[in-house]
Symmetry: D2
Subunit: 328 residues, 4 copies
């Protein structure tokens, strides 16, 4: 049983396209038809651009047709503001490459997630850090808002706090305020603890149903919203099931490498492996999250980088220095 089948059987998704790509390629051993991948290297960041180009690739990857950009920047952990600023500019550059809007188009930022749960609170935090301008454009004299795009922001909460599907709240606000684009910020789960609060995924597909830590029931995408949606996702946890699965994987590999011990290991019933993982997880099942000790500090840092990168991309006529100063 491959990793993806196991996850599906346990009700676990793979949030990051880059990781799904690795897993699917790992299973098949070759490039996936209908998928294209490019890489670009920056001094403090590695950028991977995955294009899912047709329906068969969509089915294999478990991700809708579209473009997925991943910025891997482990240097974020060093807590050096100069580096943080550089990564915000990489984010701005990549985000700009996805923006298909004119200078007068307006943007609604949506911070998904539960503000009361540390690793799920990234979205609402970015909203708190963000400079909104829509009211200035609407109510203030020209000179206050000159050169600024109209940006509004919403932290809609989660189903358990509001009793309302998050997508319904956003759709209601979209109908009233008519933005030309939505940028939705969400916390994700990664496969690898090194990615926690150091990777950023941009997707021009919006957010699929059931993804993110908060597991949106309805998608937040062009189909449900009526306008394009760019999703910005940052992994803030690894599911404990992934740790357990990764341990088994490595052990089975050891057995495979050492025929004296494990000549029959390949024949292990996948049900047994799944049961071992379930036993280890106990009653919380797939609701157990793995985070580094310093997760609160890491989320503050990446939240400011996201907020800064978005502002630089949305207001290209403003000197990026301005946003660096205000956002740190």
């Amino acid at each position: 049983m491959g990793k993806r089948e196991l996850y599906t059987s346990m009700g676990l998704g793979i949030d990051m396209a880059l990781e799904a790509h690795d897993i699917v390629r790992g299973d098949t051993g070759q490039e996936i038809p209908g998928v294209r991948m490019d890489k670009k290297t920056y001094p403090n960041a590695e950028v991977s651009i995955i294009g899912i180009m047709d329906k068969s690739a969509e089915a294999m990857m478990g991700k809708p047709v579209g473009t997925y950009i991943t910025i891997d920047a482990p240097e974020i952990r060093q807590n050096n503001k100069q580096v943080h600023n550089e990564i915000a500019e990489v984010l701005a550059e990549q985000l700009s490459s996805m923006l298909k809007i004119g200078p007068d188009d307006s943007v609604l930022l949506v911070g998904l997630g539960n503000w009361n749960a540390t690793p799920d609170a990234l979205g609402p935090r970015v909203i708190n850090y963000t400079l909104v301008t829509r009211h200035l454009k609407k109510y203030a004299p020209q000179d206050l808002s000159g050169g600024l795009r109209s940006v509004s922001a919403l932290a809609p909460g989660v189903l358990g706090i509001t009793g309302i599907e998050t997508a319904e709240i956003i759709r209601g606000v979209v109908e009233k305020t008519q933005p030309n684009l939505i940028i939705a910020i969400d916390a994700l789960a990664a496969q690898n603890t090194e990615r926690i609060a150091t990777s950023i995924q941009l997707a021009d597909t919006g957010i699929a149903p059931g993804s993110g830590i908060g597991n949106q029931r309805m998608g937040i995408n062009r189909e449900t919203m009526g306008v394009p949606v760019i999703a910005i996702g940052v992994p803030t946890v690894v599911n404990a099931a992934v740790i357990a699965q990764g341990t088994l994987d490595r052990f089975l590999q050891q057995l495979a490498n050492n025929p004296a011990l494990g000549q029959n290991a390949g024949s292990f019933n996948p049900i047994i492996l799944e049961n071992i993982i379930k036993e280890v997880l106990g009653p919380y099942k797939t609701n157990l999250m793995v985070t580094p000790k310093e997760i609160d500090d890491l989320i503050e840092a990446i939240g400011k980088i996201i907020s800064g990168g978005i502002s630089i991309a949305l207001h290209p006529s403003v000197d990026p220095e301005e946003f660096h100063m205000y956002l740190h």
Copy 2:
């Protein structure tokens, strides 16, 4: 110049109908035509019910036609949970008298105000304490939600955080979720520091434009929302201008009572008084707020009382004890 004229000239509103009533009556010296007032006494609370019955009364009171119930419960300051529970039940009783909904009607709670500013954060806090049930009614088996009314909740933020008129956000959500009633919770400014976090005003008129600490630009009422709106307001500040004005008032009264000193005091130019107040307030003008030192604790206490009282009123078939236990 009467107090009301002075406030109008300074751009200050009078949030509580009971205080507006006192001021208008104080100016005229007699009951206001078209206004009715009843009183009811509870062991730990005094309830005043003001009816504004016609347009002329509306003009004099500066409040729309409707019913305004004020619960004055200074005992809240004593931090005795038994007393808090009793006041939550008084609130539930008074709120129930305003509810004109059937057992299957749904309710949307809206917590107005800025979650980042302590005295304005009452509304969002009540939302955080509240038990929402709409998603249970919709997605969960009957036995989980049996006997519970459908309640949803929203903390929309303020213009400076979202760039969107709060009323627009709520209107969008109302159109999507079709509640039968809105209950909007807001922080108010009082005339008297004794009322801070110890008085609760219920109004079946909703929220008028420009009222509350956050000064909503658009009203949140039946006209703008399409469904009835009950406003629950709690004063959490007194404007510093009120302190300055109250000081002058009392001094002028002393002069009036002592003809030897102040035979001409009545002839004081109201402009001079207004200028004195402006000088005392300095550059913050009417943005200076007076709060007791323990305001953080007081807002937590009254927030739980409001949340408890609303739940008791909305779910009449549940034992109030349940809500007391869960809300403290």
Copy 3:
């Protein structure tokens, strides 16, 4: 290699005596000489009392001679305040059994841990919930403090925030205020996710160097403080290494049970197992923590239970109802 040796090699401690007992017994297969264990069952809690009676038992258990009481109360997760109150009373009863102080003796509560890191913040939170009385006994009239024991409280912070060994800060305050007993509250790591925020360990030995999530360098015990120290510890995380180790353990057991596959599995080099775990953990090593999604709510609940239980035990002449009301 047994679990304990593996942990030692990775620099991981076993915080809970009950779990150390299980592990050591598991390795040896029989009761440990010099260790005594009693059990007591309550409606919503299971209490285990372990006595480590001599130096040889101390060496085997890796815990100093003394008494360790564990209250396992998985019902805490149900969020039923009635149950929480009952568990607070079980805690009070067990804590009382450890208290060797007269009615006029004074107590210093110490909330260990980092208030900025959610799972390590339990200690400081308990301090915030606690009713302190020392200043009333000292400065207020008799009738305000009558029947109350002198209780003071300190949240000293952690080395990374203060630059000072926590034990040094406490020792300084002890010398100035001369309490007769210290009760130190700390967040622990468990072996089993079911214990997170649902188990409470009391130890009359105080806190050993290097234990707890914050890894105190110096012990906080009678030797370093000069007065008896009771430690109250609550697991709020499981180390991710434990998840990885538990997965391997279960897999090896499967191999052992199925000779056709694993006849040689017993001969696995323990170094290989340790390396697998290290690979899975990645650069964060043993700084990866596993918590359930709802950890913020769970810590609030257990924090109030701890605070309530301590107050009931320290002020036996006050009706426990009082503390239940004030602490929820």
Copy 4:
């Protein structure tokens, strides 16, 4: 009755030496014997240095003999980080002029005040922003801490939270850790709302008993601590009594300027004035605080300025740029 007598009678202190100087000079109409005042102007700040040189000046000013430096920087409200950095450097320069320590001397920062009450939380917040180094100097290799002075930090809490005199806690820690200097950060009350979160007072006298918002009972100064204490105070509130008094003052001046109205106003019984103020304040008495609406944001800004300025002054061999980057 002068302002100072009125305050004394109401139990109100004057926290800022510069304001006490104004009031005393205002009463007497001339320079105070034994007091010296110098001014220095910076691009974004006005610095006033008051020397209280003998016991008679101490009695008139109500402040111990010593040097009091006030930095008035109203530009802080503009939220321009460049300006904030400049003011942090002015603070560093002024603080350096007070430091009488050698390069190897160690410093203990103490953040006074209640972390649960927004306007009193300035001290603990500065501690949270501060870079501590004492543990690096003690436990880490030379190259990690080279060029850094040993700095430790403490947020001891307030009497109502700990039950212990704050000065006792600090004294205990001082005896254990033997710093060469204490810098104590505290929130103050001002006479003028313009000073809120925009003025900084440095005093080489430490903190006198009964001063600051939290009203320390015992002084925190060389006498009680055994080492020199520099106090850094920032006004975060104005007492509502000051607003009331200021209103009366201005009104009486108007009367004095207009003999036709107020020829006898000077003969007003001061008791009457005090009673008016007490009536306006109501049951909270002098516990009513005036703050601007945006106080939460202002305290965050000034907290970072204080933290940055202290770090620049204490680590003169580090480029100030470093601290600007890390502290914003």
